[in-house]
Structure formats: structure tokens, C-alpha cells
Symmetry: C5
Subunit: 374 residues, 5 copies
């Protein structure tokens, strides 16, 4: 197996959801033609250093430490206790490779871990199960959703999790492990994997809530005063929905696949919990679909309200022109220089003209009002 | 299992269907990261007090009472008679917990009962079947549909129903139990569960009827005089349809799942009744789909009638301008101050000009009429 | 089983397809909460009196009579000959109930017969098969399609058909029975049921033909002179299509279900005939789908032709204005009262001005024509 | 079985695809209510006389003749050689009936042969397989696609083909038979049936090619100069696509059905050929779908280019008006007759006014150009 | 088997994706009616000469040479080493035919190889597996995607690949073979076939990346300055997407078919690699779907921004007209020649008129600004 290391400065994550997507495929193309199983880190290099944390527990004991080298974790492969090795930062290909060798992971798995453009999926290799998830976070400032790839390897007595960068949604799980809250310390590694998946899925509700607020704000803005910026925001929302959908739909298959899998790694007692996560996933998908419908509805409202507003402007302006053009014609008539125009001589002609003008304006206004044009 | 109680003042249910939705997901996020089975009430706290009513019956006997504490119901777990325990108000977590402990309900079930953002579904735990439904009500004033979550636990000789607040669609069922109407008193607990589901589904027809009336009214309004308010109402209707659809589609799976379930709790004699409810569900889905098509059609009509009306206005106004602009030009010609303009001297020039003007106007009007522009 | 009779005056069937729909759901809601199997007539009461006709036949014998009471039909339940009991009018609940009791029909079947908002379906109760169909008729005057529910109960030696009102599409079948045309008199009751279904389905072709003519007429109108009425008619057609679709799609399932059913009531020899009806159903569905596409296409043509026409009007009018506005400016120039305007003194100035005006108009017209604006 | 003969003059095939469709359903309705298996010719009577041709062959021998009466063909039913009986013209019901009797065809088959509104399908009657196809031809003049129904009856040693009129796509197959080209003479009747189906399917590529050319021409027209006629042609193309789709989609089922059929009539060696036709069908469907997408795209382009063009016209015209209206105002000012207007007396006032006018015009033009309005 | 050779000058590949498509079907029609298995080259003749390269290897040995005649390759059919015969250029029918004869390929396979309008597919003939792929390349200048058909024949110890022209994406695979990189030299012919498919699929990522860049550029252009050219480019992109989709969707089936195939040619050890390619395919499809959504979104933005811009222009122009028309009326009034117009005599009348004019303009401007019309 040949190793390549793509060294490049950490770049800030780009603003737009799709830009990030494009960048990913861009880097992906560097791999075209390489033998399968070649380890190349595809994705943003989010952290300079790699942090490895190990939590080892059973019902009685609990141990948590930060490993300075990957070799420290190797001892846990055979202990009867459940071990959770968490690796923040996947750009150090040598670490991933050593780990893979010791835990006998298939090269393609290692490749998938490094390639952050993966689709959520699970794969069952007799000795372990490989799971890819997308952990989402909401960037309040830019109002966009960002995804971080989380890969889990579930073995009979260990779970290894790979994250792109430090900072995750697993703090609650760690607390439960530390404080022996709930049943987590009494259960096997599959329950730990479930708990991690559950934490990721639960976090989706937080994201949806934020998006829900965005939609609500946008709706008020739409009614109050739609601008071209509103349109761009609606399109941004629409894209975020497309992005979310792409992350969540495969999740459904993933979890239902786990449920149906006949792997001995997943105990029967965990089934009911997986069913629960499955229900949550369906609920999330439902909400995303509703949001999509709402966003399309907003687009329709935006377009028709913009067009209504434009029409209103044009109507008023046209009405003004329509009123004055006949009047100007009348004025034009008596501006003619014919020698024989009897009206010009009458002394009351001028006030009568004014009268006529006023009458015409009033009649037109009444007519327009009746026709509901004003 | 750890308990948390979210104390907050009862808030009025928000006007818009989706707003309510958003609020639910909002509260849902408080649970993110908690261990599964943690009981947190997610939803509006609709009632301050919790009412527990117990109906216990068999073919001969009938007993109905309001329980002051949940412990009073525990005796019915083992009696051979059928018992229906109805709990209005799910914010008292301690009550739910005690009940769950005594009836040996799985913690995830209790969690689902408290979390009012559930999707209609059923789950088969050997000893009991858990069913979640959405009971709809129509708010006449706000012209919106509101949903209340009803959870049913069907055991071999009991049914426990959980509602968010007092007031439901089960009064008819109670009457049939009291008066031994129909076969209900002769049947087992599964028939009672069926009767409750049937009552919920039958109520959907009432909702659809109201919506049908709304649509009819709206259509007349559309033809008579479409305003921007009409557009907003159409969008509100559209959303209500999306909301209804989300509530009813899973119902279909639910009931067909119950039918196909091999649980010993559901007697074969109930199958034909479930098939009947299933047919009703399909009928409701069909009607909702028709309504959706009709609402989309209304949107099309609205948009094209608005645009037609605008066009008509612009056409008339433009025609007025078009008639007077050439006339003004003529008047302008004879307003010129050239020294040598023979027409100015002719005494019949002025009347001739008027004649010409009248002829032009008449010709243009005839032309416009012929072209059907007027 | 409790009986209720909803007494109300026969009302005329409402014009619009959907109105009828709405009315049905409206009445349906009266049943909400009643025990299943409660007999309430849901639908328009189309006829005051109920007509019961009996046709009893085998290969040799044939007997046809109008029964004055339902009891006259009871004797045919056990005769070896095939008996067709046809009941026109389903508002007399007592008749339906007596019949149901004697032929041992399930209360839910009776309920479905009375409830005219049923979806086409079939249900297999070992001793008999229950089939619901929609018999369509085309109202030439109102250009709408109306549906009448036909319920069939197929027993081993009898068929009972229930219609909402007198007048049906079965006259040809009766003729074939009377004259022993085709194979019908040699076959069992399942062939009779098939013949009735076939008559209903064949009638759909008649309806489609009428709609096809409507579409053709409408298309010519569209090209010749689209008005706002055309738009409404297109929308009416669209709705009729939605309505037809709803009636025909379930038919497909119904017939394929009959084919696949393992009921002993349906002989193998009838299979080939059912396949034939199935093919017809598919053909009808195909035609409806084509019609839908054509109607959508018409809507597009309508909208773009209206907009084209409007554009043409506006263009001509704007061009007139555009030509005269510069001319008016020229006239305005020489209408100024400056003391020192040499042109005013020149005797050939006025004719030159006219020349200039003519040249400008000609140039503009040529330019507009070249640009294809005229 | 009762025979009816619908006598009517041969009518020219109507121009539009859908008109033909309508006509078919129209005639179809004549059959409503008749017993199944009644032979009525439904369709255009395309030829006055019926032509029967017989080709009889095996690897060694080959015989081709035109039969003057249907009875001449009967002898071939039992010969070991493969016989292809081709009947051009299906309006002579007596011929079809005699043939049906002798070859023991089911009455429903005969009915389907006569009824030209069939959907492509295949039916397996143990002794023979019945296949319905649509043979398409492209009418260059009217730019429309026309369909002719081809029915095949495949027996163990014969193929009977029924066409609506003389003229087909089978000439190549006949040549191969005559000249013993390819393997056709060595193979059984199922290969002959395959060869006929293949000829029909191959002909679709010719049709698609013509449509492709139409689309290409239309696209150039669209860019060069879209007119209202273009719109109508796009809609005609759209319809042709709908029509083609309806003919080809069922073909796919048909051929995959033939492949999967366990009939002993279809030898295993023919499977690979059927798979080949199947691939062609998929390819045709793919192309039709692409064409549909392209036609929709053309509609979008048409609409936006029409609207762009209109906008361009209105913009130029409005700009002209906008430039001259302020100038006219200036001229109007100095056309006022106030006694005390000092400017009127200045001798350089008039040239200054012209200067101002020129400056205004130039400024406006520059402004408009900068704003990219010109 | 009869041979035909279509001789025609090499033509340059046409610009537009669909034009190429049309051309292909055009040529395809030449085959209509020919016996199946007739070899006719359908497609552009991309190269004058045909290049045959042979790579023969096992774990120890490696040999690469360019064959001057096809017969040189025949010896490799029976050697135990793995042989990869690559043929660039498929217009020399005689070569294909000889090869087919020696390697016992079915005539229909040869036909498919020559017919470049194939859909990606795989077919399992016991002794070999036939695979058709589309190799894409991006033409930077014309911004279009072009497809080249690659056919693979996988035998137990050989892979034959057919390409339309010289130049491919397999150079990396050749390098790995030459340098014994990765496991490729240790594996059997199925792994080689996999490696070729993988190279083709990996190349799709490169294409997607280019398209992603195009989309990004286009989006910036859309915001900065949308022109009619932008519209055409969006439509070109849309088509490219349709084209890509057509190439990739069948690939999915192809690879999942290979995975599920029970052919002994595909070793179990290759399964995990096929699963990997399958995942890539899904990822590509996902990205294409996202791109399609983005392109539709761009179309919406384009249309609404064009319409917004047009509206802005019209609004400003109309406002100018609206301001000056009333002023012109005032000037017109005092241009009238009535004898008795007291204002005309007042010496301060003229400045007052100017004052009035200024006041009117200022008021209107304020009003327009307040109404947000300016």
C-alpha cells in the first residue's frame, strides 16, 4: 500500500454550502486513477494537530485519557472492557495507517475515512462494522449548515471514531459514561455506537430548529418588505435543504440496514434503540420535506408579491399620465394660432376651460375608483 | 432512569400550523444528547391539571370513574374485565413514570408519549402494542387545523390512552360503552383500541368537510374578487394540506401494519374492522390529494386572473394615451408661430380641425373595437 | 345493529364535480363516532321509490320480474339457477337490512353499500365477494361527468347489484340474457358479475369519447379566440380528469385483485375475460393520462397566447405614442414665443417642417418594420 | 359468436396524432355493452381489399405466394415447415373469423386484432402466443407520426401477422427469407416472430432520427426567429413525444415478458436475441426521454426569448418617449404667453435653448448607455 | 454473417452534446431491418488507423507490445497469464470480426461493440462477461462533455477493451501494471476489469469538478451581469446534466449487476472493490442531482433577475414621464391664446409658474421615494 500526503495550509471553510461541495469533488479528482486503497486525505484540513482520546470502561471501571501516540491505543484491542478511541483530525495519514494495520481494517475502509466526500453508509465486515455519518453544525453568522464527516468502526469490544476536527456533539455521551448515567456503562460496544449515532441524529433537531427560525424570520420579512436579498436568501435556504436532504436520506437506509443486519456485533437488545433512532430519522426527513414545501411556497409568494408591487407602481404612474394627456390636448387646442377661433375672444372662456379640466379630472378619478383601479 | 421536569407557563397555541411545528422542533432540541428513555415533556403544556378516567367493563358489568391518583388504576391490570384508562394531560412526568413502571412499559415508549412531535406509528412489544395517532381539530376562527397527539397502549385486557388535553372525539365511544350499543361490550380490548382509532379517523372526515367548505368559499371569492388576501389564504390552505398529509399518510402504514401484525393481541375477528378503517384512510388520502390539486388549480386561476385584470387596466389606459397623443400633435402644429402658415388665416380652419380630430378619434375607436382591444 | 334513517328531500345533483365530492364528505361526517356497521345512507337521495328487479336463468330457462317487496327475492338464495337481483335506490335502509340479514352479508358491507363515497374496491368474504364500482355518466348540458356507485355482491349462484338510482348501463347485458346471446346463459354467476363490470368499464370509453370531443372543440376555440371562459373550461376539464382518474385507478387494482384472488367463486374460465377487462382499464388509464397531458398543454397555450395577444396590443399602442411624441416636440419648438427665431420668418419654413415630420414618420416606420416590431 | 360489420367509406387519416386517438376511442364506444368476443372492426378502414400473403420455408425449401382466399392458408397449420401468413387489412371480419376458427384462436384474441386501439402487449395461450405491436411511420408532409397496429400470433410452426393496411417494415425480413441471409431459415417460428418484432423496433430508430432532425431544425429556428408557429410546432412535437412514449413503454414490458415467459414456444436460443431487442427498446425509451427534456427546454427558451424580445422593444420605445417628454416640456415653457418673460426678448435665447436640448439628450443617452439600458 | 463497411471521411465531432446524439441515431437507422449480428460501424469514425496494444502479465512477468495485426493477439487466449488486449478504433470491421471468431464472441456482442449508441450495461455469457461503458471527456473550449464508448470483454484469463479512438483514462492502470504498484499484478483478470471500470468512474469526478467550476463561474456571472448568453449557457449546462445522467444511471445497475452476478469469472475477493466503485457511482449520481437542482435554481434566479432589471428600467422611465407630463400640461395652459387670461399680464406670473413647477417636482420625488419607487 502506497502512502501519499497532501500538504497544504488549512483554509477557511468557504461560505456557501455548494462551494464546499465543489471543493470536495475538486480534491477528489486528485485520486482519479490511483490504485484502490491508496490513502489520500480528501477534504479541508481543519486542524493542524491530531488529538487522540481513549475512554475505556465497563460497569465497574472507567478510565479516560488523551493518548500522545496512536500506539498507546493498541493494547485496548484485546481487553474485555469496552474502549472508545476518538481521533480528531484525519490528515495524519501515518496515524490512520498504523491504526488500520493493528486493528486489521480493510484498506478501502481507511480510504473512505480519509475521503470526506462520503455518503452516509454502513458496511459489514464480519469482524467489524464501518459506519459513515455527517455531523452537522450551524454557522449562525453565515446562516449556513456545515458538515463534518464522522466515521465509526464498531468492533466486538471497541468503537473507533474519526472526526475531521476537534469539537463535536458527543460531550453528553462522555458525561453519561463518566457519571454512569443511564444504562450505557452496562451495555456493550454496539450500544456505545448507537449512542454516538443518536447524538448525531439528535443534533439534527437543533439544526432544524435554527432553520425553522430562519424560515419564520424570512416569512415575516416577505410580508413586510421583500427585496432582492430576500430572494437570494430563499435560494440559499433551498440549497441548504437540498444539502440536508442529501445528508439525511442515506441515514435512513443506514439505520434500517443496521437494524436488519444479521451481524453478531449488534445485540438484540439494541434493536429497540435503533428503531427509536430510525423513527427520529423519519421525523427529521418529514420536517425537511415540510420545510422544502414551505420554502417553495415562499418563493411563489415572493415572486407574486414583487410582481404585484411592480404592477401597483405601474398602474399609479400610468393613471397619472392618462389623466394629464387629455388635459394637455385641451390646452394644446387653445394654444393654436388660428385667426378665427371665437372661443379665444370670449372673456369667460378661460375660467370655463378650467372648469372643464376640473370636471374631466373628477370624472376620471371617479371612474377609476369605481373600476377599482385606484 | 432520570427525570426532568420542564416547567413553563401554558402558552396559547400559535396561529399558524407551521409555527406550531417549528415550536415543537424547538423544544425537541432540548433533548439532544440526553440518554434514550429520559422523560422530558416536549410540546405545549395544554392543561394545568391532569385528569385520569377509568372505564371498566365486560358484557354484563360497566363501571366508570374519575381517578384522583394514578395508583387507583393499578388494580385493573390483572382483572379479567376490559379496562380503558384515559389520561388527559401528559405534562406530569411522575404520573406517566409510575404508570409505566406498573404496567411494565419500555422507557422509550414513555419517552414517545411525552414527546408530542411523534409521527403516527405503531410498535409491537410482545406484551402490548403501542400506537401513536394525531387527533385533529379545526379552529373555525383562525381557519386552521390543530393536532393533538393521542398515544394508545393496548394490552391483553386494557387500553391506556394519553391525550395532551381535556376534550376529545371519544364521547361517542363512551356512550356506546355506557349503553352497550353495538358489539363493543362483547369484544376484547383490541376492539376498544379499534373503536378509538376509528373515532379519530372518522373525525378526519369532519375536518375535510370544513376544509371543503373553505375551498368552496374561496373559489367563489376567486371568481368574484381576488385580492392579495386571497393569495395568502390559498397559501394557508396549501400548508394545511401539507400538514394533513403528513398526519394521514403514516396512518395508512400504521393501520396496514396492525392488520398484518401477527400479535396475539389482535384477534382475527377485528381484522375486518381494521380493513374498514384502512379503506377510510385511503378515502381520506384520496380526498386530500384532490383538495391539493384543487388548491394548486386555485393558485393558477388566481395568478392568471390577477394578471388578466392588470392587463385590462393597462390596456384601457394605454388606449386613452394613444388616442390623445396624435391629437395633441395636431394641436401643437397649429400652435406653431411661423409667419407663413396659410391655414391659420382661413376662417373655416378651426372647425375643420375639430372635424379632423373627431374623425381621427372615431376611426381609432372603430379600429380598436375591431381588433377587440376594447 | 341500530338503524337510522336520514330523511331529506331529494336535491338536484350539483353542477360541479367537486361540489358533489364536497357534499359527500359533508354527509359522511354525520357518521363520525357511530359504531361500525351502523346503516346510514350517505349520498344524494336520487330516487323516491326503490325498484327491485330479479332475473333468474340457466342455460334453458329465463325469468324476469319486478319484485314488489324484498322478501320475494329470498327464495332465489338456494335455487341452482343463477339469479341477478338488482336494486335501484339505496335510501330505504330497511330493505337493505332485510336483504343483508337473509343473505348473511357482513354489516360493514351493508354500510359500504349505503355510503356512496366509497372507492372502487373488492373484498373477499369466503361465501361471497363484494365489489364497489363507479358508473359514470356524462351530463351534456353541464359538460361534467357524474358518478353513481354500483355495489355488487357475488355469491355462488347469485349476483346482487345496488344502484343509487334507476337508469344504468346494463341494458345490453339484460338483452344478452333475454336472447341468450353469447355465452352468458351457459356460464355461472361469476361471468354475470364480469359482464356487469365489463359494461361499466365499456361505458368509460363512451365518456372518454365525449371528453375527447370537448377537448377537440376547446382546442379549436383556443386557436380561434381564447377568452377567460376558455380558461375556466380548461380548469373544469382538468378537474374532470382528476375525478376520472380517482375513479379508474382503483379499478385497476380491483380487477387485478379479482384475477389473483383464490376465491372458489371465480372460475378459471373467467380469468381470460378478467384479463380482457384489465387491458381495457389500462387503456382507459392511458387515455386519461394523455388527456391530462393535453389539457396541461392547452393551459400553457392559453397562457402564452393571452400574453402574446396582450403584448401585440401594447406594442402597437406604444409604437403610435413613440412616433407622435418626437413630432409633438418639433411642433412645440416652433410654438415657442422667442422674439429672435429666424426660422419663424422664412416663408418656406412651414412646408419644410411638414416635410421633416413626414420624413421622420417614414424613417421610423421603416426602422420598426426592419426590426420586425410591426 | 355474433358478427357485425361496420361499413363506412375509407376516410383519410387525420392530421394530428391526437385527433386520430380521439377517433379511435370514438369508434371504440360502439362496442360498449356488446358481449366479449364480438367482432367489430374498430379503427380507420385503411384499405378496400385484403391481401393475404403466405411464406413457407425451412432450411432447404422456400415458397412465397399471394393467397386469393383465406382457405388456401389452412393447409399450413400442420406442415412441419415454418409458415408466415401475413394479412394486410383487417376490416373483412369474415376472413378473420374463418382464420380464427381454423387456427383455434380465442374469440377475445380476434376481438383484439380488430380493435386497433390496443396497447402493445403479449398474451400466452398455451398453444400460441399473441403479440400486439405498434408499427410507426413518419408523415414528412404533416410532420407527424402515425401508428398502425400489427398483431402477431406465434404458433409452434407458424406466425400469423395482421396489419391494418398494405405497406410495412418487413421487406428486409422477406429478403432475408428469400435469400437465406443470416440464420433465419435455420431457425423456428419463434425466431421469425423475433425478426418481425426486431424490424418494428428497428424502424423506431428511423422515426427518432426524423424527430431528431425536426428538433434540430426547430432549435435553429428558435435562435434565429421564434414565431407563434414555432410554439405550435413545439407543442406538436411534445404531443408526438407523448404518443411515442405511450407506444414504446408497454413494448418494454412486452419484450421482458416474452423473455421471462416459460412458454415452450420460445426456444432458449432466441433469448439472447430478445435481450438484444430489449436493449434497443431501453435505448429508444432513453432517447425519447432525452427528446422530451429537450422539447421542454425549447419551450422554456421560446417563452423567455419571446419575453426578452418584447422587453427589448418596449425598452427602446419607452426610452424614446422618455427623452422627448422633458424636451417637449421645455418647448412648452417658452410657448407660454406671459407678458413678462425676460428670456423671450434675449436674442441668444433660442440658440441656447437648442443647446440645452442637445445637452439634455446627450446626457440622457450617456446615462442610459451606462446603465446598460441601451 | 454479412459484412458491410461504411466508408466516409472522418468528420469533426459536432459541438453540441445533443447534436452528437442525433447524429448517432441517424446512423443507427442504416441498420434498420438488417439481420441481427450484422456488423456495421455506427458512430463517428474518430481515427483513421487502428492501434492494437497487448499487455500480458502475471505476478512475476510483464510484457507490453503494440501488435501490427490482430492475429498476433490470438496466442494469448490460452496462456495462463492475464492478457489485456486494447483496441483503439472500431471502424475496421474485419479486425473486430476476426477477433470475435477467435475468441468465440457472440455476433450480437460484436454488433454492440460497433454500435456506439449503446447504453452502459453488462451481459453474462458463461465464458465471458461483456461490459459497455461511457468514457467521458471535457472539451474545455466548447465547455461540453463528450462520450466515447468503451467495451470490455472479460474472459477467464484475458480482458479485451475496445475504444473509439486513441487516448484514454487508463494510463494510470498501465503504470500500475508496469511498476507492479498495488495488488494489480497479483490478481486475476476480473481485477483488471475492475481497475478499468474504476478508472472510468474516477474520471467522472474530474468531469464533475470541471462542471462544478463552470457552475460557480456562471453563478458569479448571474449575480454580476446576466445576459441572454448566460441563459444559453444555463441551458447547455442543463443538457450536459441530462447527458451525464443518462450515462451514469445505467452504470449503477451495471455495477450492482456485476456484484450480484453469480458468474465464476468474478472472484469473491473482487466484491469489496466493486462495492467501492458502486459507492462512487452513487456519490456521482448524488452530485449530478445536486448540480441539476443548482442549475434549475440558476434558471429561476436568471429569469427573476432579468425581470427585476427590466422592471427597474421601466419604472425609472415611467417615473420620468410621469413627472414631466403634468408639467407640460401647466406649460400648455399658459400657452393658450385666450384674450382674457389675467395671469398672463401679471409680471410675477412667470417666476411663480417656475416655482410651482419646482414644488410639484419636489413633491413628486418625495412621494415616490417614500413609496420606495425610486
Amino acid at each position: 500500500m502506497q502512502l501519499q500526503k497532501v500538504d497544504k495550509n488549512a483554509r477557511m471553510i468557504k461560505m456557501k454550502v455548494n462551494t464546499k461541495k465543489l471543493k470536495q469533488t475538486k480534491k477528489r479528482s486528485k485520486k482519479a486513477g490511483l490504485p484502490p486503497g491508496t490513502l489520500v486525505h480528501v477534504g479541508e484540513r481543519k486542524e493542524e494537530s491530531v488529538r487522540i482520546t481513549v475512554i475505556d470502561y465497563d460497569e465497574q471501571s472507567f478510565q479516560e485519557k488523551e493518548a500522545s501516540s496512536i500506539e498507546e491505543c493498541f493494547q485496548f484491542k484485546t481487553t474485555p472492557t469496552v474502549t472508545w478511541i476518538n481521533i480528531d483530525g484525519i490528515h495524519r495519514i501515518d496515524i490512520i495507517e498504523k491504526l488500520g494495520k493493528h486493528f486489521e481494517l480493510h484498506p478501502l475502509i481507511l480510504e473512505d475515512i480519509l475521503n470526506t466526500g462520503q455518503r452516509p453508509k454502513f458496511e459489514d465486515f464480519d469482524k467489524y462494522i464501518f459506519i459513515v455519518l455527517k455531523m452537522l453544525s450551524y454557522d449562525d453568522e453565515k446562516q449556513t449548515v456545515q458538515a463534518e464527516q464522522v466515521s465509526l468502526v464498531l468492533g466486538s469490544n471497541f468503537v473507533i471514531s474519526f472526526q475531521e476536527s476537534i469539537g463535536d456533539v458527543f460531550e453528553e455521551v462522555r458525561d453519561r459514561l463518566r457519571n454512569a448515567k443511564g444504562r450505557i456503562r452496562k451495555m456493550a460496544s454496539d450500544y456505545l455506537a448507537y449512542a454516538l449515532i443518536d447524538a448525531v441524529v439528535d443534533n439534527y433537531f437543533v439544526i432544524l430548529e435554527r432553520l425553522g427560525e430562519s424560515i419564520e424570520t424570512m416569512e415575516e420579512e416577505l410580508v413586510a418588505e421583500p427585496t432582492e436579498k430576500t430572494l437570494q436568501q430563499i435560494h440559499l435556504l433551498k440549497r441548504t435543504m437540498i444539502f440536508l436532504r442529501k445528508s439525511v436520506w442515506p441515514l435512513r437506509e443506514l439505520i434500517s440496514g443496521l437494524q436488519k443486519s444479521e451481524s453478531s456485533l449488534i445485540k438484540e437488545s439494541t434493536d429497540v434503540y435503533l428503531r427509536d433512532v430510525y423513527d427520529h430519522t423519519i421525523q427529521i426527513i418529514d420536517t425537511i420535506e415540510s420545510f422544502r414545501d414551505m420554502v417553495s411556497g415562499m418563493l411563489d409568494i415572493y415572486l407574486s408579491s414583487i410582481s404585484n408591487r411592480m404592477n401597483a407602481v405601474m398602474k399609479v404612474l400610468t393613471i397619472i399620465a392618462t389623466i394629464f394627456i387629455p388635459l394637455t390636448f385641451i390646452a394644446g387646442i387653445y394654444g393654436m394660432n388660428f385667426k378665427y377661433m371665437p372661443e379665444l375672444e370670449w372673456w369667460w372662456a378661460y375660467p370655463v376651460i378650467w372648469l372643464i379640466i376640473v370636471v374631466i379630472v373628477v370624472c376620471m378619478l371617479i371612474y377609476f375608483r369605481r373600476k377599482k383601479w385606484l
